[in-house]
Structure formats: structure tokens, C-alpha cells
Amino acid sequence: MKNQNNFSALPISPTVDKVGVEERVSRFQKRSIKTDAKSHGLRMVLNMIDLTTLEGKDTPGKVRQMCYKAHHLHDSLPGLPTVAAVCVYPSMVGLAKSLVKNSGVKVASVSTAFPSGQAPMDVKISDTKFAVNEGADEIDMVISRGKFLAGEYNFVFDEIAAIKEVCGKARLKVILETGELATLDKVRKASDIAIYAGADFIKTSTGKIQPAATMQVTYTMLMAIKDYFDETGVMIGMKPAGGISNSKLALHNLVMVKELLGDKWLTNEWFRFGASSLANDVLMQILKTETGNYQSSDYFTID
């Protein structure tokens, strides 16, 4: 079972060879996804999206419109799935929860002084508690990258374990902010820390830092999930966030998940896309497969 709160159980992370990773990733990108596989894949993508708004200028009006879109993606085409969740700041959780109830769409809240994580521990705890009490189904926390890069792995581990404790029933996604970790070796190390400290999901980025969810980074994190599963039999979810804005890239991500982890990861319980503009591109592609024509972006709503 899971070795929660046990830093000593953390294994030595394997080294990662960047050139080899790039080569492997290029193989996923060469998979040709056509016809049935494409339309099925695109629907899976839609159903895995965490529709996100994380701005200082977020208002109830903005959140209200996004939440409606979350389960009315394109009503003129019946039978489309909903997105997986809406992702908002803690202050908007209550509102979002009231808007998506009964739709199956979950509410995820960022927390722990998102996006920088540069706040004292008690602030992070109360930030998280607030979101959970408001009804968040999922918590997207950030790790302390400064501490991680300073080599204080124990601190990072304990922090994640502490947040996990206050999450209660909410599932915990741990954001590594891979764009600030610089190397794939570090990404792997952070993934292992997050997983062993109690993450239900590991997530690439806040969306505020570039580069975000490159396939190389996602590959490295998926391998950490795979190794943990082989070791313990426990599944961990994965969420690439930021930078996945078109259908092709999203499908290549699914190819990668399928080939590395297997089909059982291909549901929104175990895989998510953190994205705001991806949904419309996917809808455009789905309509193209249905009607044979690309339609203007004017026909897709931008909530």
C-alpha cells in the first residue's frame, strides 16, 4: 500500500536521458490517429479537460459562464461528453460548486498560495481547508520549488503530506512546476517525492511559467507513475497543464498514456488536461470529422 508520510521509503530516482526521451516522444508523435480512433480519442480528450480560469481578474460572471460551458460544450452536437472539472481559485469554489452540481463536472481548486507557493505553512493549510470546506472535489497544490532546488527534499515531502491530510475526501493534485525545475532528472525526483508523499495526481505546471507541459516532461512523470504502480499496485493520476492547445498534441498525449500506462489510465479519473483553449480546438476537429468541413471559430463559444 501507499507509504504515506514516510520519507525514508522514497526510492533513489533513476536517471533520465534527455536525448533518449526526445527520441521516445517522437515515436508517440508519429502514431497516426485516424477515423474511429480519432473521433473516439477526441471525445476522450474533451472528457479529460479541466476547464480553467486562474486570473487576478476572475469575477463571478466569468466563472458562471465557464461553468455553464463545462457541461454545454456544443449543444448543437448532441451526445458530447462534459469536461472533467472546472479549475478555479479558492474564492470561486463555492460559486462554481453551485453551478455544476448534478452535471458530473467536478470542481478543482488551486491552493497553497498558488502559483508561487511562497507563503508560510499555516497560510497554505488554511488556504486548502477553505477550498475543501467550500466544496472543492480536488485540490491542485504547488510544491515549494525554492526548497526543492535548495535540496530540502524532506521539507517538500512533509509539506505535501501535510496538505494531503487536510484534503479529506478531496483528491490531491501536486503541481511540480516543471518549467522551474529545468532538468528531467529533477522532474523525476520531484515526481517521486510527490507520489510517495501522498499525491493522487501529479501535475506539470501552473500555466504561469513556460515551458509547461511538454511531452518530454509528461513522459518522465508518467514513467514515475508506472514505476510506482509496478512497485505498489497503486494508480496515480497525471495532469499535463499549460501549452496543450490543439487536438493533435492532446491525442499524442493520449497515445503516450496508452502505451506507457495502458488503457485503464484513459479516463478522467486518471488523466486530465489542464487547458482553457484546448476544448474549442477539439470541438472544431470533432465537427470536422462529423461534417467533413472545418467551421469558423465564430461557431464555437469562448466562455
Binding site: 533513476p14 536517471t15 533520465v16 536521458d17 536525448v19 533518449g20 526521451v21 527520441e23 521516445r24 508519429k30 502514431r31 497516426s32 490517429i33 485516424k34 477515423t35 474511429d36 480512433a37 480519432k38 473516439h40 480519442g41 471525445r43 476522450m44 474533451l46 472528457n47 457541461h71 454545454h72 460544450l73 451526445g79 458530447l80 461528453p81 462534459t82 452535471s103 458530473g104 514513467m223 509496478d230 493520449l254 496508452k258 502505451e259 506507457l260 488503457d263 485503464k264 484513459l266 479516463t267
Partner: protein, 485 residues
């Protein structure tokens, strides 16, 4: 209201490369002296698609008389035209061939995949671009030979007889023809009998390029045709890529003559994984090493050595990775492992798999659907293999990997070198110093570090011991076609 999508079995739909654009004749003659001629034997044989066993075209079977004509044409072209032409002009022709090949890259890729059984992805991304690059690379050398061999007197050899295998048909033709022409020789080339088509398409390109008649002659046939080339008294140089058995016959045949030779023969190359290696990338290297081109690769990493402390993990990861390999129609863009080149080769591979089982090694194959028609073999690995097992000693030339464990660096160097072959090796470790230690001690022509099966025209390739002699590619590849004094 919107519904949820719960279905999680996601299969790739077929994505077959179109064959509409390719242009194949029903029957091919011989390309001698710039013309397409009927074989004097009047005999033709069928070339089939190993995917569905259907006939693609009929190919001429050249006899002694045809070989005489081809060599005569090559000699004439050498004496009258090619040896007198300014080197820069030679280069222009080679560049032109490269560009024409590039323009028809898609057609070449599809024909190669159809005829050889290799996945279209590999033909498209590796074979054809690399073949073009060989012509581009050697075109550049044509007028710079003096700089390649400073303070030496250089002259071409004359007529080169070239015999190539069926695993990389067009690429091997490029490896042979490009340096020969750049160095100022003329050529008689014979492709393997199961894979003549891309060489014949190359003859069309050569025709289109306006290369003077007789400079390149392409004749097709079986072993007897090859033997006639080897034994022809007016051939100055033999370049052969193929099995060690045939290589030995060639060497006997030309002993006592002044024919120069380069032989690129078999291999049983070691791929060595240390416990500090980037494991997941090493798994990729193992897969590329042995399952690339169905294992029909002379430098395939067919002997895997894994440090004992990580052996279970590596085997587990490898089995998982094998499961995601797509086996099937070579023309499907998602196919990773295509068809075995011929029925004969499939039988040889099956024979070795049986030997492995009989020897008590533990076999594992990926549990993929194997097409009923055509020649297919599931990717196969054997564990519990000893150095003394037949499957660890003999070249299988198929998707079959033997796995042995080792404890120390010295042990693995000894075991890796303990083979009649010495073509290639792979070393996987995070330690740079260890890489350099091994590269100096492994007796192999090519050693890859943290990668496998990487080729480039500028990099020489060739073996030690029974893997042959002479180098192809790079500057070294030129000297095999030059008299240096």
C-alpha cells in the same frame, strides 16, 4: 445533458499508406549500358510482398552473358568517359541522383516497404532519407579527394562489382554506389533476389539523371549471378554486404587475384546495460537494437547483457514495452514490426527459436495478434541464456534477443568479446568514464553509447573478425574505392 465517456479500449484505426502514386512495371529487364535489356537467359522470377505473399513484379535472372555485358559496359564507360571526366562534373551527377531520389522519396519508401516487408515508418524516416544523404555526402567528396588523402597519389580502381543484401535494399545500394562513383569507379550492382525493386527504381532515377551510359549497371538475379560478378576477370573490386558464409566463399574465389574487396558480414552484437543507466531509455535502446527492421540488421543488438542487480527490472520493463509494439501490415503507419523478408528467413528464425527452447532458455513473446497471411514473427526474448547457448552464438537475423546477466565490468567485456563476430556494441551507463573504458576494450567496429542503431553518412561502418573488413561511410569509405600510393 451531456453524457460521460466511459469506454476505455482505445485501438488505433488502420492508417494505410496509399500505393496509388507508385509506378511499377509488371516485368523488369536489366539496366545495362544505360538501357533496359531483356536477360539473355530469358528467365524471370517473381518478387513477392512478404505481407500477403502476392506477386508484385517479375524480375530478370541475369546469367554469365548478361554479367559479361554489364562488366563490358562498365569498363567502356570507365575508360572512355568516367575516368576522364573532371571530378567536379562527377560530383554534379551524384548530386543530381540524390535530388531525384529525394523528389521521389515517397515512392521509394512505399516500394521498399512493399517489397522488403519493413514498416513504412522506417522506410520513410530512415532508409530513404539516409540513402539520399549518402549520395549527397559523397557527391561533396568527388572533387576533394586530394584533401581526404593529403600527400598521397590517388586513382580509382576501375570496375566495382557490388552485391548487396535484402535488409536495407536501397540504403545498401546507396552505401555502395555513392562512394564508388565519387572516387571515379564504374559499377555493376546486384541487389538481393527478394528485394530488387528499389534498386531497379534507382536505375530509373539514374537513367533520368543523364549519367553517362554504363557508369552504373544494375543487374538482378540469384547467387549464380553474384558469383559471375565475383569471378569476372575484368572486375577490379568486390564490395559485398551479406552473410559470413557467402563472404567466405567470395574471399576464397578472389584469392590469388588482384581484386580488392570489402566485406561487411554478420554480427552478434552486445548491448550492455549497467545498473546506473537511464533505464527507460535503455529499454528503448534494446527495442531499437533488436526489433528495428524485424531484427534484419547486421549490427542488431542481439545479445543483451544486463547487470544482475537490475536484471529483473529490465526484463519486466522490456516485456511491457514489447507489448506496445504494433505488428502487422508494413504499410500501416502505426506498424512497428513488419513482415519477415522471406519464407526462408522466417523458417531460419523459427528454427533458432526452437533451438532456444530446446536449450532450456526461457522464452517470452509479445502477445500481439499475428497476421494469418504473410511472414510474421512475434518479437521474442530469451532469458536464462548462457554464453555457450547456440542462440547466443549464432546470428539469427530476426526479432530474437538473448539476455544474459553479468556482475562486473571486466566480466562483461570478456563475454561481449567472446564471439567470432565484432560488428557493433552498445553501452548504457550514466558514467562517462565507463563509456570510454568500454569503447577502448570492446572489439567492435561501431560502439554506441546510450543509444543504438544510429547511422550517418559521415560515420564509417564495418567490422572485426568474422564481421568482415573494410569500412563504408565517411572518408574511410572512400579509400575502399581508391588506389593510394
Amino acid at each position: 445533458m451531456a453524457s460521460k465517456n466511459k469506454k476505455t479500449n482505445w485501438e488505433y484505426a488502420p492508417s494505410i499508406e496509399s500505393t496509388d502514386h507508385i509506378n511499377l512495371k509488371k516485368r523488369y529487364g536489366l539496366f545495362i549500358n544505360g538501357k533496359w535489356v531483356t536477360p539473355s537467359s530469358k528467365k524471370y522470377f517473381k518478387t513477392i510482398n512478404p505481407n500477403d505473399e502476392k506477386v508484385i513484379a517479375e524480375i530478370s535472372h541475369a546469367n554469365q552473358n548478361d554479367v559479361n555485358n554489364a562488366v563490358k559496359a562498365a569498363r567502356m564507360a570507365y575508360d572512355k568517359v568516367w575516368s576522364k571526366m573532371p571530378a567536379a562534373e562527377r560530383g554534379k551527377y551524384i548530386y543530381r541522383i540524390a535530388r531525384l531520389m529525394q523528389e521521389r522519396a515517397r515512392e521509394f519508401a512505399v516500394v521498399e516497404s512493399l517489397d522488403a516487408g519493413k514498416p513504412i515508418r522506417e522506410a520513410r524516416d530512415i532508409d530513404i532519407p539516409l540513402a539520399c544523404n549518402h549520395f549527397f555526402y559523397y557527391a561533396g567528396w568527388s572533387d576533394k579527394l586530394d584533401y581526404a588523402f593529403p600527400n598521397r597519389k590517388i586513382s580509382p580502381l576501375g570496375v566495382a562489382g557490388q552485391i548487396i543484401p535484402w535488409n536495407f535494399p536501397l540504403l545498401m545500394a546507396a552505401w555502395k554506389i555513392a562512394p564508388a562513383l565519387a572516387a571515379g569507379n564504374t559499377v555493376v550492382l546486384k541487389p538481393a533476389e527478394t528485394t530488387s525493386l528499389t534498386a531497379l527504381k534507382l536505375a530509373e532515377v539514374i537513367e533520368e539523371s543523364g549519367l553517362p551510359a554504363g557508369v552504373v549497371n544494375i543487374i538482378t538475379g540469384f547467387g549464380d549471378t553474384g558469383a559471375a560478378i565475383v569471378n569476372h576477370p575484368d572486375v577490379n573490386k568486390i564490395a559485398f554486404t551479406g552473410s559470413t558464409g557467402v563472404g567466405k566463399i567470395i574471399q576464397k574465389a578472389i584469392s590469388g587475384t588482384d581484386k580488392k574487396a570489402t566485406l561487411e558480414l554478420g554480427g552478434k552484437s552486445a548491448n550492455i546495460i549497467f545498473d546506473d543507466a537511464p533505464l527507460d531509455q535503455a529499454i528503448e535502446g534494446i527495442v531499437n537494437g533488436i526489433f528495428f527492421n524485424q531484427g534484419h540488421v547486421c549490427c542488431a543488438g542481439s545479445r543483451l547483457f544486463v547487470q544482475e542487480s537490475i536484471a529483473d527490472k529490465v526484463v519486466r520493463k522490456l516485456k511491457h514495452r514489447m507489448q506496445s509494439l504494433v505488428i502487422g501490415n508494413p504499410l500501416d503507419k502505426n506498424t512497428d514490426v513488419g513482415a519477415i523478408n522471406s519464407k526462408e528467413q522466417l523458417q531460419i528464425i523459427k528454427k533458432y527459436i526452437k533451438i532456444g527452447i530446446d536449450e532450456g532458455a526461457e522464452m517470452h513473446q509479445s502477445s500481439c495478434d499475428i497476421p494469418k497471411k504473410g511472414f510474421f514473427c512475434a518479437p521474442t526474448i530469451f532469458t536464462n541464456v548462457a554464453q555457450s547457448s547456440v542462440i547466443a552464438q549464432e546470428e539469427i537475423f530476426g526479432p530474437v534477443l538473448t539476455i544474459q546477466t553479468f556482475r562486473t565490468v571486466d566480466e562483461v567485456i570478456q563475454k561481449a568479446n567472446n564471439s567470432p563476430y565484432g560488428l557493433a556494441a552498445g553501452v548504457w551507463t550514466d558514467k562517462g568514464s565507463r563509456i570510454f573504458n568500454l569503447t577502448t576494450k570492446l572489439k567492435a567496429g561501431v560502439i554506441w553509447a546510450n543509444t543504438y542503431n544510429k547511422f550517418d553518412p559521415s560515420s564509417p561502418f564495418g567490422g572485426y573478425k568474422e564481421s568482415g573488413f573494410g569500412r563504408e561511410g565517411g572518408m574511410q569509405g572512400l579509400s575502399a574505392y581508391l588506389k593510394l600510393s
